[in-house]
Symmetry: C2
Subunit: 573 residues, 2 copies
């Protein structure tokens, strides 16, 4: 390594060191010079169809890879990505958003350039980013640039949230010191607080005295970096274990003691009874949004809970701050005497069967997910877009090492399709060493699909093995159940979904062999048996037709509530 | 009119009074109750495919109609629209952005709702809007809501820029006072300043003494509300008249004294000589961004210019503030003695001919626009998307009352397609009284098209008469000429554009009869002769194939500069 290095090479070397293999984004005239360095740095450039799609894809990539990068251009590009960055903030994906800004001389002379408001102001969009990123920095000179880059990357990793980096268009080629690069970027560990032994002993005391314990894994466990320890804890205690929606896919659902999703009154009654009378709920990475907690009905009571958060552990109502949950969990596992803990009898497990589903049945929310479930294999990725799919997908029994993504908090419809692209790409890169191959399956409604459909063309270009199952129910059924179930504003334009692969540029032969439709359960069974569907190459599309008002779970509850209000005359029909 | 009215009805009544006929947007669970009132209020609801497209469409509608409205949902919806709102700010489209926010009880209890960061904060996205809108307000109670609505609408009209209105989801049905509605919403006129007579006499003096005068109409003349007066001025003086890119389509190009676009060194030499030696340049609605002024080469010298801006008039280097340019212009027209002004001989006009174009020629930037030009008719709308099209389109000779939209300052690629939808819809509403019919023609590159292509399905659903000419040059040619002309990052995925109408849901018969391609000028001539193309119904698509590096004007200059740098070895090839 030489003593000096070009700025862009510095940045991209750091990203490579941190395991980033691909960068997402859209070219624009203030980032083109930066893009020159992407491929020479050994990174793959994914040119997305637009910046929102690029941000969504970067978020997805980060959820599998642990970090991702997005490059947009000043103003027009970065603002288009804003909603995607905000979603990454809400659901804790570390994405480094690199914005190519006008060259420094133009900024300091307040030139009336395009992609500005033609008023000499250059700080506006960076000011907006403060609200949706964990940290922001602006590169301005060769002296400070390397440290600023290191700092912003550390912030992304510490907070597990997006960060914002301004890189003026005249800077990618300038020389900076390469000294920092000799050591990998370190995120310093927090020192153990003096109260740590007390916390550990209080936890152990509760663990040994628990009569009806359980483990609850929520999604921020990823940000806590404790997934391996959790796996050990779940195996070594053998305690009944549930996840939230957000936590689904983070624990091995093939273990006998793992029950999958806990849904309180929207799930099965024995699980609810066990959960609500538990005297210890070891809770990891809590994220208590309405959607993730079934309107807060799945949140453990303080009296039962020991909760591991970012830098706090809460026992009963005592909050211990400045503590590393990962360290405490490690010590707990080292100290734990398994002979001293109870072997509770968990509630009975619900058996899932498809034998009651007749081939002549029309495809519906209450049969579709059970029929699809068997195609998933170890290590696959399954994504269920916000809408009916996100509720239905929660019932999947996942194979080991599968990851699952669904509606947690941000719930931006359209997100899941580009997210699918990002996750599939990250998984393929992970599999490169082992030579393994995995499928990525997206289940998405027609309303969501229309938001970001063009990104299918990038999936095709990237030759990713992605199965897209489109639920065609003629519009936003999730909105229909909330309000306006007969209102035309919840409809969407008619599209011919089976023509998507052809329009978006797949080979003609591929199109003919990889496009499917199903209206009945028998047809769906046939389609799912097809090897091209469950184990195929490239992008495949299955369109399934469902009823406009077909919904399950909380959505069915909302629909019935709406119908009752209509009958009372308090709502338009 | 009753004394009380529901809040949503109040808002929509005001919008109707101000000439808004359609509302753009996307349903979301915090705006559904508001959407219930749209159609009953006599407004047309345009459900767009996503919020960015909706914002772009609202911007386009406003450019024809003078005001538009956009409804999105909190967080996910409004942030997706941010780039479109920013563009409306940059190019002065008054768009009222109505955001359906969570119900007041949820906000005040800081509930951890979806579409938030699950942290109790509800002010973040409104804080972001401050940077990209001219005014912001939040409805919070029935007492103040009517006045707040009136105020925010006034701000949109005064500034001719977007504004931001938060409307909690529990408020559309509450009763508010209807008293304000008895009078139309008035935007107060500014009083004449004491220096107005001095300004007028200085202007008259210069007008009477000018030896080589000209009129320059720039795009902010729309915001100044002076288009009718300008038409009178251009006719009554008969002085040579040019426009900027932004001003193109605001003056009648069929007048003998109107020369069309002034492009300084990028246009014809006689015009440049006349312009640069002029002793009086009456300049209206200036907007001096790099793109709109050919890198500031078309900006008049202070010594020659009298410049009418928002609330100032500048004569030489004296700036008169707090003055109404419209009032002064009106007085000028009333006072002007035509016998006292010079009848200058303008420069010769360039004749445009297509006789040199052979049928066997491939379609190229230097022949395409001349071949297309004859299909435009009085009152049509022509849009040339950022990229090669925006430069080529500047050479069109427009028929009377035609409007033209092209790259001015914001230059967000993908904008022009949804903008086309908005302009076409506004024009159709304008034509309803007269029964007239007009075509809207979009010329767009394949790179831009991929950003927002799904909005074609809304054009189809709305049964608009839109001709889309897609320039297929396999990527972002405008980026290629700026930098990286051979770089793969400037390529885009391959799409089958001739399948767009079918994929996006047009009737099968319509698809077959309204999809065209052309590679040679002869083929293009044939296509353009087809009545379905120049005067058809619904959406029609013409794909033309051009070379990847085919560019003209400033783009050709940039391309040649890049090639020269490559030869010097200062750039990668």
């Amino acid at each position: 390594m030489t003593d000096n290095i070009r700025l862009a090479d510095y940045l991209f070397t750091r990203l490579r060191q941190l395991g980033v293999g691909s960068i997402f984004g859209v070219p624009g005239d203030y980032n083109l010079r930066l893009l020159d360095y992407v491929v020479p740095a050994g990174l793959h450039w994914v040119g997305n169809c637009n910046e929102l799609n690029a941000a969504y894809a970067a978020d997805g990539y980060s959820r599998i890879n642990g970090l991702s990068a997005l490059i947009t251009t000043f103003g027009v590009g970065e603002l288009s990505a804003a909603n995607g960055i905000a979603g990454a903030y809400a659901e804790r994906s570390p994405v480094i958003h690199i914005v190519g800004t006008p060259p420094r001389p133009l900024q300091s002379s307040r030139a009336l350039m395009h992609h500005t408001f033609s008023d000499g102001e250059y700080g506006r969009f960076a000011a907006m980013s403060i609200h949706i990123t964990a940290a922001q920095t602006k590169l301005s000179d060769s002296h400070t640039a390397p440290d600023k880059i290191d700092w912003i990357l550390q912030q992304a990793l510490i907070h597990s949230r997006p960060v914002y980096l301004e890189l003026p268009d005249d800077m990618p080629g300038i020389l900076v010191s390469a000294a920092n690069l000799k050591a990998p970027l370190a995120v310093l560990k927090v020192p153990s607080p003096v109260h740590e032994p007390q916390v550990l002993s209080r936890i152990l005391e509760r663990v040994y005295s628990a009569k009806q314990p359980l483990i609850l894994v929520d999604g921020e466990s990823v940000a806590l970096g404790i997934l391996d320890q959790l796996d050990t804890l779940i195996k070594s205690t053998n305690w009944p274990t549930w996840t939230s929606v957000y936590g689904k896919g983070l624990v091995n659902e093939s273990y006998d003691n793992v029950y999958g999703l806990y849904a309180a009154g929207f799930g099965d009654q024995p699980a609810k009874e066990y959960f609500e009378s538990a005297d210890l709920i070891l809770t990891f990475g809590p994220h208590y949004s309405d959607t993730n907690t079934y309107f807060w009905t799945t949140v453990p009571k303080d009296a039962a809970a020991i909760t591991f958060k970012d830098s706090t552990i809460q026992i009963d109502s005592d909050v211990y701050r400045d503590i590393s949950p990962a360290d405490v969990l490690t010590q707990l596992l080292q100290t734990l005497d398994s002979s001293r803990i109870i072997k509770p009898t968990g509630p009975p497990k619900q058996e899932v069967t498809t034998s009651d589903i007749k081939d002549t049945d029309i495809i519906a929310q209450n049969n579709f997910y059970r029929l699809v479930n068997p195609i998933f294999r170890e290590g696959d990725i399954i994504l269920a877009e916000t809408g009916t799919a996100s509720y239905g997908g929660r019932s999947f029994k996942l194979p080991p090492k599968a990851r699952f993504f669904s509606a947690v908090t941000w719930l931006s419809i359209g997100f899941m399709l580009p997210c699918t692209l990002g996750t599939a790409l990250a998984k393929r890169e992970q599999n490169q060493a082992s030579g393994a191959s995995n499928q990525t399956t997206l289940i998405i409604g027609d309303g969501s699909l229309q938001m970001t459909a063009q990104e299918i063309s990038v999936m095709i270009k990237e030759k990713l093995n992605i199965l897209i199952i489109i639920i065609n129910n003629e519009g936003y059924t999730i909105e229909r159940v909330i309000h306006g179930r007969k209102q035309p504003y919840n409809d969407v334009p008619f599209w011919r979904h089976t023509q998507a692969l052809s329009y978006f540029g797949a080979d003609e032969e591929h199109v003919a062999q990889n496009t499917f439709t199903a209206k009945t359960c028998g047809e769906l069974r046939e389609v799912l048996k097809n090897e091209r569907v469950h184990s195929g190459q490239g992008v495949r599309i299955v369109e399934v037709i469902m009823d406009r008002e077909d919904a399950q779970g909380p959505l069915l509850y909302l629909l019935n509530k709406q119908k009752a209000e209509e009958q009372k005359g308090s709502l338009p029909g």
